[in-house]
């Protein structure tokens, strides 16, 4: 990626990160659509021999030989038996029966996590710069599990099984599905085994935001990553015939529009079908579109396909407007015709003009790349949100990382839009999703693993979470683009990742397999369900009291029964509910005395911590504390938030608090 290393402070603090030998011992496994091995992001110049721990392979198949692997791309496997069993043999004229990436997504994610340094990267001149993965010295192993027809759980499990055998250190999964209980979810099941072997598993939170309860991959042994923006934009302005100008974003490069205002039409008025406003295939009437700029509504079909539909109907340009589902979030695309995306408010203003002027006109001006956009980051509207629908007492997502308009390597088999009619080929593409934020965290976890080889996956996640930030440098709170208001821990988890601070977190919240087994007991899992998930006979001790609240997680989620018969506007009731959470912190730094500070968004919740001071005389020393949440009953769907911070004056160890009444 060309901007995130600087946005995350990695470029400015390169000397703080591990020397090349340690860093190149770490192996990042990526389960995705495969890899385009010819990408310069997988150049192995300067890398030493493959780590001796590596047991993996470079599998041979369609257009893929052993020589496609090297000292950077050290492993490449593919898993298609489940896919083929359901959908029949792979059509090798359409996709490669090999680790080769015909889609681009896998090449993008794996190069984001651990791609080599590539000078002169750009997409049609946009986002130009030196691209690199978050852990540019780490090795990459790809496991192709996603095909044209989807990613099948039997293949995903097989890939996770092999990745564990192969000895990867970090696993990156930018995929998800449904909201199954942990013992029925193949990603959660496979990740449990990986966690036991010391492998950190980073997963995307999903793109179902901004709705609440929209998260996937919420098991507490996973690191769940939401998405935020960068300080970079690709502005493209729309000038209307009434003299008004509106800003949008675009990655279009090609023939310009004629240097004059063109007829402007709303797609909904250039169609005979009820959903013609969406610019779906074969829904526009060419006579009403030809030679015009068309305003299309976002939704249902892919954004870039709408541009293709307008072009096929003879349109010269497109303005793509968000609806309420997306608000003001702008996602840039490399459209096949001059086109720009605009926010909902702008779109409504344009529609007002279109419906009131008998001869509406418009043109689009493309401005290229702009950096230094503020505020940034903001939480992406599409980023899935909490509360956690499986275990409300575990706050998810864990954190956010860059996931909007990310430039990274691309497959040579497909154009930047992914459309069949897009014959352009690019070395890099700019796309958005929690798929893009997840490998950022995977790569950063690889950096931490190199710096602290003895840290457990939970300790690495803790360092990333407790050092994440929730406010801009000017002190204002991180914003949610879907509301324009401050985001909450249900949106950003612990906050935005800050890898430089994560290197030295001060204290960590560690977890081992026994802790997770006790957590399963707290969920009242049967022995059979635990066996499904953890592959062992484990009986919960009937004499022991298990509590989900005591899982040593670096964040706090308190789920309380709502006061029935009330609404959010009618207020709460009297009589407090008291909930206690136990935590143990491990000193990862020098001796020191940490003092706690607590903040809460509401007087209806009291948070107290006992003891309020923790003194550590040596590294790895553990100290425990208890948090007491005292809350008055509130109407259903009320949420309040807070923060608990431990600091010795140098290190700040922060934990978000989310309290919800359901």
């Amino acid at each position: 990626t060309t901007r995130t290393p600087s946005f995350l402070g990695l470029d400015q603090n390169a000397a703080m990160f591990p020397e090349s030998e340690t860093a190149s011992e770490v192996i990042v496994g990526v389960l995705d659509t495969g890899v385009w091995p010819e990408s310069p992001s997988f150049d192995d110049t300067g890398l030493g021999p493959v780590p001796s721990s590596w047991k993996g392979e470079c599998e041979v198949g369609t257009n893929f030989t052993k020589s496609h692997c090297n000292r950077k791309l050290i492993g490449a496997r593919y898993f298609a038996r489940g896919y083929e069993a359901t959908l029949g043999p792979i059509d090798e004229t359409k996709e490669s029966r090999s680790p080769r990436d015909d889609d681009g997504h896998g090449t993008h994610t794996s190069s984001t996590a651990a791609g080599s340094v590539v000078a002169g990267a750009n997409l049609f001149g946009y986002a130009a710069g030196t691209a690199r993965g978050m852990a540019p010295r780490a090795r990459v192993a790809v496991y192709k599990v996603c095909w044209l027809g989807g990613c099948f759980s039997s293949d995903i499990l097989a890939a996770l099984d092999k990745a564990i055998d192969d000895n990867v250190n970090v696993l990156s999964l930018s995929l998800g599905g449904g909201m199954s209980d942990y013992y029925r979810d193949s990603v959660a099941i496979g990740a449990f085994a990986a966690m036991e072997k010391g492998i950190l598993v980073s997963c995307s939170a999903g793109n179902a935001g901004p709705s609440a309860y929209s998260l996937s991959n919420v098991a507490p042994w996973l690191t769940t990553v939401g998405a935020g923006t960068l300080d970079r934009d690709f502005p493209a302005f729309v000038s209307l015939g009434n003299g008004k100008n509106f800003s949008g974003v675009s990655l279009y490069r090609g023939d310009s529009l004629p240097g004059k205002l063109l007829p402007f039409v709303y797609a909904g008025n250039a169609t005979n079908v009820t959903n013609g406003n969406l610019c779906m295939t074969d829904t526009l009437i060419p006579e009403k579109v030809k030679g015009k700029i068309v305003l299309c509504d976002r939704g249902v079909n892919p954004r870039v396909q709408k541009g293709s539909v307008v072009k096929a109907a003879g349109g010269l340009g497109m303005v793509l407007t968000n609806t309420a589902a997306n608000g003001e979030e702008l996602v840039a695309d490399a459209h096949l015709l001059p086109a720009t995306a605009v926010g909902q408010t702008t779109g409504e203003a344009m529609k007002k003009y279109l419906f009131s002027d008998p001869n509406p006109t418009a043109t689009i001006l493309f401005e290229g790349t702009k950096v230094g956009i503020e505020p940034s980051p903001v939480v992406a509207a599409f980023s899935s949100r909490g509360p956690n629908s499986i275990t409300p007492e575990i706050l998810k997502p864990d954190l956010i990382a860059p996931g909007v308009n990310i430039l990274a390597s691309w497959s040579g088999a497909v154009g930047p839009t992914g459309l069949a009619e897009d014959s352009r080929r690019v070395g890099f593409n700019i796309i958005s999703g929690t798929s893009m934020s997840c490998p950022h965290v995977s790569g950063l976890a690889a950096l931490l693993k190199a710096a602290h080889p003895d840290w457990s996956p939970a300790a690495i996640r803790s360092a990333l979470m407790t050092t994440a930030y929730t406010a801009y440098k000017n002190g204002k709170l991180l914003q949610d683009v879907s509301t324009g208001k401050p985001s909450t821990p249900f949106d950003h988890g612990a906050g935005h990742v800050d890898p430089v601070s994560a290197l030295n977190p001060g204290l960590v919240y560690d977890l081992n397999v026994d802790d997770y087994l006790n957590f399963l007991c707290a969920l009242n899992y049967t022995s059979a369900q635990i066996n499904n998930l953890a592959r062992r006979n484990f009986s919960c001790d009937a004499r022991k009291t298990y509590s989900v609240n005591d899982l040593n997680y670096p964040s706090f989620a308190v789920s309380l029964p709502a006061k029935m018969g009330t609404t959010a506007s009618s207020g709460g009731g009297t009589g407090s509910t008291v909930v206690k959470h136990a935590r143990t912190v491990t000193n990862a730094g020098p001796p020191g005395t940490y003092k706690v500070s607590v903040s809460s968004s509401s007087d209806s919740v009291k948070i107290s911590v006992e003891p309020g001071t923790l003194t550590f005389s040596q590294t790895n020393e553990k100290k425990s504390y208890t948090v007491t949440f005292s809350a008055t009953p509130m109407p259903p769907n009320t949420n309040e938030f807070g923060r608990i911070e431990w600091s010795d004056g140098k290190y700040v160890v922060g934990s978000p608090v989310a309290i919800s009444w359901t």
Binding site: R81, L157, G433, N531, N532
Partner: protein, 82 residues
């Protein structure tokens, strides 16, 4: 009516493997053959679960669940890229 086959992931309790089996894979195969002569394993899993994936009819899957040592017969799920 012929029931259509679909993919299932069969979770097994390894500790319940009868002593007559030297290898767990033989036990898996024996369990599978007891409900379907024609079914073949897609994968056997060693690290992530004790078990295998295979194609079964719903009836065979229900029968499989009643076999000794079977923890769960989980239908295949399709995941999406994010």
């Amino acid at each position: 009516a012929v029931e259509e086959k679909r993919t299932y992931i069969v979770h097994m309790a390894k500790s319940e493997m009868p002593a007559r089996f030297e290898e767990h894979t033989y036990w898996y195969e024996s369990s599978l053959k007891s409900v379907s002569e024609s079914a073949e394993m897609l994968y056997t899993y060693n690290n992530v679960v004790h078990g295998f994936s295979t194609r079964l009819t719903p009836e065979e899957a229900r029968e499989m669940e009643t076999r000794p040592g079977i923890l769960l017969v989980l239908p295949e799920l399709r995941y999406q890229l994010h």
